[in-house]
C-alpha cells in the first residue's frame, strides 16, 4: 500500500470506531527470503503480509484486536468485536488516553535500491557466495532476507505518522567437515547498493578453516575479545533491563547496584569506556522514529560508565512525575576505532569469541545470563591468535561486561542471535569474563 492508501485505510477504520479512544497500527510488508544449506537453496519465499492492530478504550476500559484482512465486513466486525470486548473489560487504573500529536523526524530507513531487489537479483547475488564455498570444499548454510515495510500509526486524537523501511540482512555459517571447523559472518544494510555478500562468505570460510581441530582450553574467568555479534547480543539484553518501573518496584538488577534510597541514574555503575546510546536518525543503523505514536529522540543510556536514562512508560511517568522515555529502537556504542588485530595484540592471554548462542536469563537479580560461544572461538596468547579452542558455556552479566571493558574497536552494523534491532557496536576487549564450562559443539 502507498502512504495515501494506508492513510485512507486508517481513516476508514477510525471512522468506524465509536469508542472514546482508539489507536491503530498498520504494517504492510513484502519479504524476500532465500535460505540455503549444504551449498544449495533449501527454502525460500516471496511473502506479502499485512497486519492491522486496533486498540479502543471507553474511559479506563480497553481491548485490542489484530487482523490481516481489509474487506469492509471484516473491518466492521473487528471494530464491533473489540468495542464489545472493551466494554466488558474491567477498568484498568493505568489506562491512559491516546497520545497527542508529536513532531516526527523524517526516517532514514528507506532505500529504493532495496525495494527494487527481485528474487532473480537476490539469487544472482547469492550464487557466487555458495559457489565459492563449494570451491573451497566448505559446507555453507546461509540466510538472506530482504524486507520492505510501510507502517502507519494513527489515533483518535489526530495522530498519523507513516514510515517506510527497507533492510537486507545476510548471514552465513561455513563448516569444514575435516577437523570440525565452523565460521560465521553477517551483514545488514538499509540500502542494497551497499550490500556485499561475497566478503561475508569469505570471512565465514576463513574462520571455518582456521577453527579446525580445536583443542580444549580450561574454562574459567579470562579476558575475552568479543566480536560485534556477541557485543550486539549482550548489549541488547542489557538494554532490555533498563526499566524505571522495575527499579522503583525493587525488582531490577539495578536495585543491587545502588544503596537503599539511591537513584541509579547519574551514578557511575560501569567502567568509563562504556557508552551506549540510541538514535533513530543514526545513518549507519537507523530505526523507526516513534513507538506507539511517541517520537523517539536520541537518548544516552550510558555515558562513560554513568547511567544516564531508564525507559519510562506513560503511566509510570505520570505517576512519578517523570518524562516519558521510550525503549531504544536501536543501539549504538561508539568505539575507539582499533582494528580487531590491534585489540588482539593487546591481550596477553585470552579468548576471541565470534558469536554467542542461546542466551537465557539465569538470575534476574544480577542480570546473569548464560549462553554459549559458537562458529569460531580462538585462544589468544601474547597478543596473537594461538589456535582454535573448543566452545564454552558462559555465565555472565552484561553489567560486568560494561564494567570490565579495557579496549574497543571500530563499530559496525551486525546481526545478533537474539534480536533484529539495528545495532552498531565495536568489538570489545573485556576482562574477567566468566567462561564457566567447555562445550564439545563445533
Amino acid at each position: 500500500m502507498t502512504q495515501s492508501e494506508t492513510e485512507s485505510l486508517c481513516a476508514k477504520i477510525l471512522g468506524l470506531v465509536k469508542a472514546d479512544g482508539a489507536e491503530l497500527y498498520i504494517s504492510d510488508s513484502e519479504d524476500l527470503l532465500l535460505r540455503s544449506a549444504n551449498n544449495d537453496i533449501t527454502s525460500n519465499g516471496l511473502i506479502n503480509s499485512l497486519s492491522i492492530s486496533l486498540s479502543v478504550s471507553f474511559g479506563k476500559r480497553s481491548a485490542s484486536i489484530s487482523i490481516n484482512q481489509t474487506d469492509d465486513d471484516t473491518l466492521r466486525a473487528a471494530v464491533a468485536k473489540v468495542e464489545a470486548m472493551a466494554k466488558l473489560a474491567p477498568e484498568d487504573p493505568e489506562q491512559l488516553p491516546p497520545v497527542e500529536p508529536g513532531t516526527y523526524a523524517p526516517p532514514l530507513t528507506w532505500s529504493d535500491a532495496t525495494a527494487a531487489m527481485t528474487p532473480e537479483v537476490a539469487l544472482a547475488r547469492l550464487r557466487p557466495v555458495i559457489e565459492a564455498a563449494r570451491a573451497a570444499g566448505i559446507d555453507s548454510a546461509g540466510y538472506l532476507e530482504r524486507s520492505i515495510n510501510g507502517s502507519a500509526f494513527a489515533n483518535s486524537r489526530g495522530v498519523f505518522v507513516y514510515e517506510r523501511s527497507t533492510t537486507v540482512g545476510f548471514s552465513m555459517t561455513a563448516r569444514a567437515a575435516e577437523g570440525r571447523g565452523s565460521g560465521w559472518a553477517s551483514t545488514q544494510v538499509t540500502d542494497a547498493a551497499q550490500l556485499e555478500l561475497i566478503p561475508v562468505g569469505e570471512r565465514a570460510i576463513t574462520k571455518a578453516l582456521a577453527s579446525r581441530n580445536a583443542t580444549e582450553r580450561p574454562a574459567g574467568r579470562t579476558t575475552v575479545v568479543l566480536e560485534t555479534s556477541a557485543v550486539n547480543d549482550l548489549l541488547g539484553l542489557f538494554s532490555g533491563g533498563l526499566d524505571r518501573r522495575d527499579f522503583d518496584e525493587g525488582r531490577s538488577f539495578l536495585n543491587g547496584l545502588v544503596g537503599k534510597g539511591e537513584d541509579p541514574v547519574g551514578k557511575a555503575l560501569f567502567g568509563n569506556k562504556a557508552t551506549l546510546f540510541s538514535d533513530p536518525l543514526y545513518a549507519p543503523a537507523p530505526s523507526g522514529i516513534h513507538q506507539s505514536g511517541l517520537p523517539i529522540q536520541r537518548t544516552s543510556w550510558v555515558e562513560n560508565g554513568v547511567l544516564k536514562n531508564l525507559s519510562v512508560g506513560r503511566f509510570w511517568a505520570q505517576k512519578k512525575g517523570l518524562a516519558v522515555q521510550p525503549w531504544p529502537g536501536n543501539l549504538i556504542m561508539p568505539g575507539e576505532g582499533k582494528s580487531l588485530d590491534e585489540l588482539i595484540a593487546g591481550v596477553a592471554d585470552g579468548v576471541l569469541i565470534t558469536r554467542l548462542w542461546y542466551l537465557r536469563m539465569v538470575q534476574p537479580e544480577s542480570l546473569l545470563y548464560t549462553g554459549l560461544t559458537r562458529d569460531g572461538t580462538f585462544a589468544i596468547k601474547d597478543g596473537k591468535i594461538a589456535g582454535p579452542v573448543k566452545n564454552f558455556r558462559f555465565n555472565e552479566t552484561p553489567v560486568n561486561v560494561l564494567k570490565n571493558i579495557v579496549a574497543s574497536g571500530k563499530p559496525e552494523r551486525v546481526l545478533g542471535s537474539e534480536s533484529d534491532m539495528p545495532v552498531h557496536v565495536p568489538p570489545l576487549v573485556v576482562e574477567n569474563f566468566n567462561l564457566s564450562s567447555v562445550s564439545d559443539a563445533s
Binding site: 519479504d31 527470503l33 535460505r35 544449506a37 549444504n38 544449495d40 537453496i41 527454502s43 525460500n44 519465499g45 516471496l46 511473502i47 506479502n48 503480509s49 499485512l50 481491548a63 485490542s64 484486536i65 489484530s66 487482523i67 490481516n68 484482512q69 471484516t74 466486525a77 468485536k81 464489545a84 470486548m85 466488558l88 473489560a89 474491567p90 528474487p119 532473480e120 539469487l123 550464487r127 555458495i130 548454510a141 555459517t173 563448516r175 518496584e249 525493587g250 525488582r251 536495585n255 537503599k260 537465557r360 539465569v362 537479580e365 544480577s366 546473569l368 548464560t370 549462553g371 554459549l372 559458537r374 566452545n391 555465565n395 555472565e396 564450562s437 567447555v438 562445550s439 564439545d440 559443539a441
Partner: protein
C-alpha cells in the same frame, strides 16, 4: 485424553463451524471450506502446467486471544486473527514458495507463478536436486476434540479466574503477581498434487502466573512461576486448575527459597519432576534428533547435532531404563494432529527415538528419509506456523516412558538419595548448537538429605552433557506419575517459526550431576545463610 477419544474427533462431522463471538474470522471458515476445492484444483493445474513435479496449496486461519492481569488490574484484553494462503512447488529439483494474505483464485495463481519463478532461478546451479517420496493421498476433515471451546467463554469469567489467582497470591504476601491466559485455534486446509484435500483444526491453551516477593526493607527479590503447562485442550485446562491454590503455595515456596541456603556447587544426585524434565527432554533429545538439523539444514541458526545418522541403532543415548517415544496422536498433545503439513497421516507413524537407551530414529519431514536410506518416508513431522511459512521439520510430542514398576513415585526415588536436590518447575534453559552442553535451572529446589526432603536450596542450576546425563538415569517413576508438559513457543528456522509441542515425563533420578551456584557464577560470593539483609520471619515482612 485417551486414544479412543481422539479418534472420535476424526469423524466427518468434525470441523463444524464454531460459533463464537470471540473469534474474529470464524465466519470465514465455512466459506473457505466451500471455496477450497476449486482453489486447490486451479492451483494444482497451474503448477503442473508450469512444470512443477509436485505442488501444494496451504490455507491457514489462526485465531488467538489473550488476557493479562497485573495485580488487580486487567491490562491486556487482546484478540487476533490471521488468514492467508501459500503455494509450494518443486520444479526441476528446486523448491519455490510464495504466500499472501489475500485468498482468491487470481492471487493463488499469481503465487504459483512467483513460486515457480523462484524455483527456476536455481536451475543450472543446484548441486543436488530435491527429491521427495510419493505420499498417499488423503481426504477428510479432523478437529481436535476439546471439552470447552475457550473462544466461547465469556470474557468476564476468564478475567475473574485470573483475578482470583492474583488475589490469592497477594493475600498470601506476594509483592506482585501477573497472570495470563492465551488460547490459539489453527485451521488448515491442504491440497497437493498427490490428490490430497484435507481440513483440520486444533486448539491450545496456556494459563500461567508469576509471583514476585520483594523485601522492601533490605532489598532482594525472588520469583516463582506456575507449573501448569500449555496443552492441546480447551477451556477446561484453566477451569479445572486449582490456580489460586498453587498461587498461595508459590508464595510460601518463594519465601522459603529466599531464606534458603545457597547451594554448594559440585556433583549431586538429582530427582527431577516432570514439570522440569519435559524441557530437558525437549532440548537434549527433541532437538538433537531432528534429521534436518543433523544433516546441516539448520546450521546457520538453530545449529546441527551430535546425533548423526551413523549413530542410528548404535549410540547408547542413555541408560537402558530410558525410552523416549514420539507421536503426533497423544491426547492433549500440543503437536497432535491428524495430518502433518506435508499431508502425511500421523496415526500409525508413532516411533521410538530412544529404546532401551539406544538411539533408534530421527524426526523427519517430506523428502528426508531417503537421505539416510530409511524406508517408509516421512514420519509426519512437518509443520508451518503461519500461512506464510514454508513447512519444515518440527518436533512431534516426545515423551519419556514410565518405568516398569507402577509403585515407584518421586518419594521413592528420593528415598534412595543420600544428599541431593529434588527440582520442580522449569526456569532458565540453554544448550549449545550441537546439543552437547546444557544448563537448566528450575522454580523450586528441595534439598534431599538421607532420603527425605529437608528444606530448600537457592541459586541452583544443573549443567551437563546430553548423553552423559541420560546415562546417569537410574530410576523412573511408574505410569501413575506420568505428566504432560510442553511449550507453545519452540523456535526454529529462518525466518524463525514457533511451534507448540508437548513432552510427557515421569519423575526421574540422575546420579552425580554437575550443580552450579548461580550467585557465584554472577561473581557474587555465596552467603552462608539467607540472602544478606533478607528478613524471612513471616508473611508480613513481604508486604
Amino acid at each position: 485424553m485417551h486414544r479412543r477419544d481422539w479418534l472420535k474427533g476424526t469423524s466427518a462431522a468434525g470441523l463444524a463451524l464454531l460459533s463464537s463471538k470471540w473469534t474474529s474470522t470464524a465466519w470465514a471458515a465455512a466459506d473457505l471450506s466451500t471455496r477450497f476445492p476449486a482453489l486447490a484444483d486451479a492451483a494444482m493445474a497451474k503448477a503442473t502446467e508450469l512444470g512443477a513435479s509436485f505442488a501444494d496449496l496451504h490455507l491457514m486461519q489462526t485465531d488467538r486471544e489473550s488476557l493479562f492481569v497485573r495485580e488487580e488490574m486487567v491490562q491486556g484484553v487482546d484478540a487476533g486473527s490471521s488468514l492467508g494462503c501459500s503455494v509450494r512447488v518443486l520444479v526441476q529439483g528446486a523448491w519455490g514458495f510464495a504466500a499472501s494474505g489475500e485468498i482468491s483464485e487470481k492471487r493463488v495463481l499469481q503465487l504459483v507463478e512467483s513460486a515457480v519463478a523462484v524455483a527456476k532461478g536455481q536451475v543450472g546451479w543446484r548441486k543436488q536436486p530435491v527429491e521427495i517420496e510419493t505420499l498417499p493421498s488423503h481426504t477428510g476433515r479432523w478437529e481436535m476434540p476439546v471439552t470447552v471451546d475457550p473462544f466461547t467463554i465469556p470474557l468476564e469469567e476468564k478475567v475473574e479466574r485470573l483475578l482470583a489467582i492474583n488475589r490469592s497470591a497477594l493475600g498470601k504476601g506476594a509483592s506482585y503477581c501477573n497472570s495470563h491466559v492465551s488460547a490459539v485455534r489453527e485451521r488448515k486446509w491442504l491440497a497437493n498434487t498427490f490428490g490430497t484435500r484435507i481440513e483440520q483444526s486444533r486448539m491450545r491453551i496456556h494459563p500461567s502466573f508469576s509471583i514476585t516477593l520483594v523485601d522492601p526493607k533490605k532489598g532482594g527479590f525472588a520469583s516463582r512461576a506456575s507449573s501448569r503447562p500449555p496443552r492441546g485442550a480447551g477451556y477446561e485446562h484453566l477451569s479445572e486448575w486449582d490456580a489460586a491454590g498453587e498461587a498461595a503455595l508459590a508464595v510460601e515456596q518463594a519465601k522459603e527459597k529466599m531464606a534458603a541456603p545457597s547451594v554448594t556447587p559440585g556433583k549431586m544426585d538429582l530427582v527431577i519432576a516432570p514439570s522440569n524434565l519435559w524441557l530437558t527432554i525437549h532440548e537434549t533429545v527433541g532437538h538433537a534428533t531432528e534429521l534436518d538439523r543433523s544433516l546441516g539444514y539448520e546450521a546457520n541458526f538453530a545449529g546441527t547435532s551430535f546425533c548423526t545418522p551413523d549413530k542410528l541403532d548404535s549410540l547408547q543415548y542413555g541408560s537402558n531404563l530410558v525410552n523416549l517415544y514420539a507421536d503426533r496422536t497423544a491426547g492433549g498433545g500440543l503437536s497432535t494432529v491428524m495430518w502433518d503439513d506435508d499431508g502425511v497421516k500421523t496415526l500409525g507413524k508413532e516411533f521410538p527415538i530412544v529404546k532401551d537407551g539406544v538411539f533408534r530414529n530421527f524426526q523427519m519431514a517430506l523428502g528426508q528419509a531417503a537421505l539416510i536410506g530409511r524406508e517408509g518416508g516421512s514420519n509426519g513431522c512437518a509443520y508451518s506456523d503461519s500461512f506464510d511459512a514454508f513447512p519444515i521439520q518440527r518436533m512431534p510430542n516426545i515423551s519419556l516412558q514410565p518405568g516398569a514398576d507402577n509403585a515407584v513415585t518421586a518419594e521413592s526415588l528420593i528415598a534412595d538419595v543420600e544428599d541431593g536436590i529434588y527440582i520442580d518447575g522449569n526456569g532458565s534453559w540453554s544448550i549449545d548448537q550441537q546439543r552437547y552442553n546444557f544448563q537448566f535451572t528450575g522454580q523450586v529446589f528441595h534439598r534431599i538429605r538421607n532420603g527425605k526432603i529437608d528444606g530448600m536450596f537457592r541459586d541452583v542450576a544443573y549443567q551437563g552433557n546430553s548423553v552423559d546425563f541420560w546415562k546417569a538415569c537410574d530410576g523412573l517413576g511408574g505410569a501413575p506419575t506420568y505428566e504432560l508438559g510442553g511449550a507453545m513457543n519452540c523456535g526454529k528456522g529462518q525466518p524463525q517459526q514457533v511451534a507448540p509441542v508437548s513432552h510427557g515425563a515421569v519423575p526421574a533420578r540422575f546420579r552425580q550431576i554437575n550443580v552450579l551456584n548461580t550467585a557465584r557464577e554472577s561473581g557474587k560470593d555465596i552467603a552462608a545463610g539467607p540472602i544478606k539483609g533478607c528478613d524471612c520471619s513471616g508473611a508480613g515482612e513481604w508486604a
